[in-house]
């Protein structure tokens, strides 16, 4: 499977399924997509990371009118504007790990 397809499928599934399922659904999604995608583990990590990172970042900007940023910033002692990127990176990291695992677990044909 091409890089761009993997990217789009992870993004689409993350976006849709997260509405109904717990946040960690991004983990099995990345795992499964990268298992079948036949990309290198490094590419799998990157594609899962960036895909979920962007979906989460976009979603956060969609949901937050601006006040949550500053509250999360106060709570975790970080600048308000950094918080959406921090949150998105958390999601990206989980997706990336599971994506890379998925690629490595697939036996080479």
């Amino acid at each position: 499977m091409k890089l761009s397809y993997s990217f789009l499928i992870i993004a689409a599934l993350s976006l849709v399924l997260s509405i109904y399922l717990p946040w960690w659904i991004i983990a099995p999604i990345s795992l499964a997509v990268c298992y079948y995608a036949q990309l290198s583990w490094a590419k799998s990590f990157l594609v899962s990371f960036i895909s979920v990172y962007l979906v989460w970042l976009g979603s956060i900007y969609f949901f937050d009118y601006g006040t949550i940023r500053s509250i999360v910033g106060d709570l975790f002692s970080m600048p308000a504007n950094v918080t959406p990127y921090f949150a998105a990176a958390l999601g990206g990291l989980i997706a990336g790990l599971f994506g890379a695992a998925g690629s490595l677990l697939k036996p080479k044909s």
Binding site: I60, D64, Y65, I71, L75, L90, L97, F98, G102, L104
Partner: protein, 792 residues
């Protein structure tokens, strides 16, 4: 190799997910479940609120009989329009949960000792103490009592159903932010929660006792010195009800041997709330410009975010009322309708008495009373602790009440534990519907505890005030100290008949006022003791007696008054005794010119406040010097001033620990020097010294408000201390259609991300008010934000 790497990564990933899904503790700092908290779909981002995008809501419930319309105005105040009171209370429960669910949850967990369940082990000791005080037991009793009046119990049930309707429709992403941070879920609301809420208020307002401290002081100082340090009445007091008291009752004397005659070890004592208090007053038409009565009320509580109060308006075909409620209780506590206005202040009587338990067995399960053997009963308290095992405490209950402290062998007799004999819970639901004073006295007659000064005014021209609650009949001096607990006849001797409670109606003076001072002069034929405020009541009386042609704006100005009678009395004497050599000092220059007002920018206020405190503690070194060994009460500040005025050669001016015989001159000089040292060259303005702040219920700085610019102090009418102060200010002029003003330091929404979370703090601090109008029709609300319609 690939497979091993893959499995390793999978494992790391799973561990990370687990970590992000659960809450942790790093050192003393709790770490919330970051994955749950920060993901965009169920995390905190979902709690964002844009003040431009509120949309109308339609609901269905089988518990409403007719359509209910709730319109939120431009300050997010709900105006409820219902066809009957039952539907209106369903709506009240719904909107209070809608805006304040977490607050309602926590404020009922606190009395019930269920905070450790959500905050963790750090609050376990607090929970234990609350359970030992028997607040959950008290709530159970209250509900049993309410059930005896099915008609009024139905009102609490309706309110609870409204709360639950809101809770039941919540999905995890909709939970208020605090639930997400603490990682727990709201649970069903029951009438017992309303009882718990009432008991929490009772603990705040009727939780005063200094029994152990007073007993210790009597033993330590002896009768004569005790009377000097801890007298009960100040001759300058102006009580709430000046009399006459046309009730015949023989004073009951207390036998000396019923007071525990020993020092009770341990200095860890629960602190009663030093900042709790309130002002209210009503002036008759004879004293107002419009010729109609004006009522004013500002209750002082520990200020929190969200605020204790919630603004609400309720209209049915029978009435139309507006004011503030306490989320968790049905009805309007302080407010007005088209005919009357009402408000309360705390009374402050001591209804919390400790009795020694005379154990007859080593297991401490059998005790002696009236010469007979008595068995304890048990109430098993299971305390849930977050991420830990449950903790079980079997609390022993005696004739008097729970054994609060095992080491001290003391049991607590507290009015809060009693089942109210009357329809207690209807007080504020019926009260808000009244049209005249007789109706109001009847509606509020079932109110039990915590005693409140129920103030009233109406548009027929009546004003009145009743010290309301079931006041126990005590022997003179009873309940001030620990009792030996040997005789059941040392219990209270029944209750004062409600029509003999201190009260006043349409006095010739043209005004009534209360500010937590003594309820009566000592001529009142029943003994009571308690914690009473020495200055605010004198100030309201002083001001109101000389005011005429009063307008609502004069009353607003009076609520802002920061004048200190304490300073007016004490400062000239302190200066008189201050050595000449200090008179040229910059400090002295400043305070000599001071007008005794604790304004925000006053430096003189800072100096006086520090100086007086230093002087007071130095004068009473006999007390403050041993308080770290023995629990003792603090002497009242009026006693200090009275000593300065009348008895400047009193032996207490000597400092016990020195060989020298100090006099008042020495104490004044030494305390002045201490003040100089403490404040340094750059004396802060009062506002910077006081550092007023309003913390969130969780104390999280991110949700709190710091550095509030406001003057006032504990003993001025505007009694704003650091975090205690006027939690709601209201002035109502009873014109044909009432003209009313009000404000509280906070906002309607409990959501820290809402524009309506703390929008009113600055306005409140600067002494401004919002105009409060009653709109009898939903379509008359100007600039509505959105509405909720509830149908069957």
């Amino acid at each position: 190799m690939r497979k091993i790497s893959g499995l390793s990564l999978l494992l790391i990933g799973l561990v990370l997910v687990y970590i992000l899904e659960h809450s942790w503790k790093i050192g003393d700092n709790p770490l919330p479940p970051l994955g749950k908290l920060l993901n965009p779909y169920t995390g905190v981002w979902q709690n964002s609120e844009d003040k431009l995008t509120y949309t109308d809501i339609d609901l269905n419930s089988k518990y409403v009989k007719n359509e209910v319309k709730i319109v939120f105005d431009d300050r997010m105040v709900p105006h409820i329009y219902a066809q009957n009171i039952e539907d209106a209370l369903f709506a009240q429960g719904y909107v209070e949960a809608y805006h304040r669910l977490f607050q309602m949850d926590v404020s009922t967990r606190s009395p019930d000792g269920r905070l450790a369940e959500v905050f963790g082990e750090s609050l376990l000791e607090y929970d234990k103490k609350q359970r030992r005080l028997g607040l959950g037991f008290a709530a159970d009793n209250a509900v049993e009592g309410w059930k005896k009046f099915p008609e009024s119990y139905a009102l609490v049930e309706q309110y609870s159903r409204g709360v639950n309707h809101f809770i039941n429709q919540l999905k995890p992403e909709d939970y208020p932010m605090e639930y997400k941070l603490l990682d727990f879920a709201p649970t069903e609301w029951t009438p017992r929660h309303c009882a718990l809420h009432l008991k929490a208020m009772t603990q705040t307002l009727a939780g005063y006792e200094e029994d152990i401290e007073m007993s210790n002081a009597l033993k330590l100082f002896g009768k004569s010195d005790f009377a000097t340090i801890y007298p009960e009445h100040n001759i300058k007091d102006v009580p709430v009800i000046p009399g006459p008291y046309p009730y015949a009752n023989p004073r009951l004397d207390l036998a000396d041997n019923t007071v525990a005659n020993k020092i009770i070890a341990g200095i860890e004592r629960p602190r009663s709330n030093p900042g709790v208090g309130s002002n209210n007053w009503a002036v008759a038409g004879s004293k107002t410009a419009s010729g109609t009565p004006i009522l004013a009320n500002d209750p002082h509580l520990g200020l929190t975010l969200p605020s204790a109060w919630y603004e609400i308006a309720i209209t049915t075909p029978a009435f139309s009322a507006r004011g503030v409620s306490l989320p968790g209780q049905p009805g309007i506590m302080i407010g007005f309708n088209e005919h009357i206005a009402w408000g309360e202040t705390n009374v402050g009587h001591d209804v919390m008495d400790y009795h020694e338990i005379n154990w007859l067995d080593s297991n401490q399960t059998v005790y002696g009373l009236d010469g007979k053997k008595m068995d304890v009963t048990y109430r098993v308290e299971t305390i849930k602790v977050k991420n830990k095992r449950d903790v079980i405490d079997s609390v022993r209950y005696t004739f008097w009440g729970p054994v609060v402290d095992d080491d001290k062998n003391l049991a607590l007799r507290w009015l809060a534990h009693d089942m109210a004999p009357g329809p207690e819970i209807q007080t504020f639901v019926k009260g808000m519907q009244c049209r005249n004073y007789d109706e109001y006295l009847d509606a509020t007659g079932g109110f039990y505890c915590p005693f409140q000064n129920f103030l009233y005014a109406d548009n027929h021209g009546e004003i009145g005030l009743r010290v309301n609650g079931s006041i126990p009949v005590k022997r003179a001096g009873q309940g001030r100290m620990v009792s030996t607990g040997k005789l059941s006849s040392d219990d209270w001797q029944g209750f004062i008949p409600r029509n003999q409670n201190p009260q006043i109606r349409n006095p010739k003076t043209g005004f009534v006022t209360s500010a937590n001072q003594w309820s009566t002069y000592s001529a009142y034929p029943y003994y009571y003791n308690g914690s009473f405020e020495p200055y605010r009541g004198r100030m309201t009386n002083r001001m109101l007696s000389k005011m005429d042609s009063i307008s609502a704006h004069d009353m607003i100005a009076l609520q802002q008054n920061v004048y200190s009678i304490q300073a007016e009395e004490a400062l000239p004497i302190l200066l008189k005794y201050l050595d000449e050599s200090y008179h040229k000092h910059a400090f002295t220059e400043l305070i000599k010119e001071w007008d005794y007002n604790y304004t925000a920018d006053s430096k003189a206020a800072t100096i006086f406040d520090t100086w007086f405190t230093e002087f007071h503690e130095l004068l009473w070194d006999e007390v403050y010097g041993v308080r770290d060994v023995t629990a003792l009460p603090e002497p009242d500040i009026w006693v200090t001033i009275s000593l300065l005025e009348k008895n400047p050669t009193n032996k207490f001016f000597d400092i016990a620990s020195t060989k020298k015989q100090e006099t008042v001159l020495d104490i004044v000089a030494q305390s002045f020097v201490k003040t100089l040292e403490k404040l340094g060259r750059d004396v802060p303005k009062w506002v910077d010294y006081k550092k007023a702040r309003i913390p969130h219920l969780t104390r999280l700085p991110a949700f709190s408000q710091e550095n509030i610019q406001i003057g006032g102090y504990k003993h001025s009418i505007n009694a704003m201390q650091q975090s205690f102060g006027p939690s709601w200010r209201m002035v109502v002029e009873l014109t044909e259609k009432p003209t009313a003003y009000g404000i509280y330091p906070g906002g309607q929404s409990g959501n820290p991300a809402s524009a309506y979370y703390k929008n009113n703090i600055e306005k409140w601090a600067s002494g401004q008010y919002d105009k409060l109008t009653i709109e009898t029709k939903a379509q008359e609300i100007p600039n509505p934000k959105f509405s909720i319609t509830i149908k069957q």
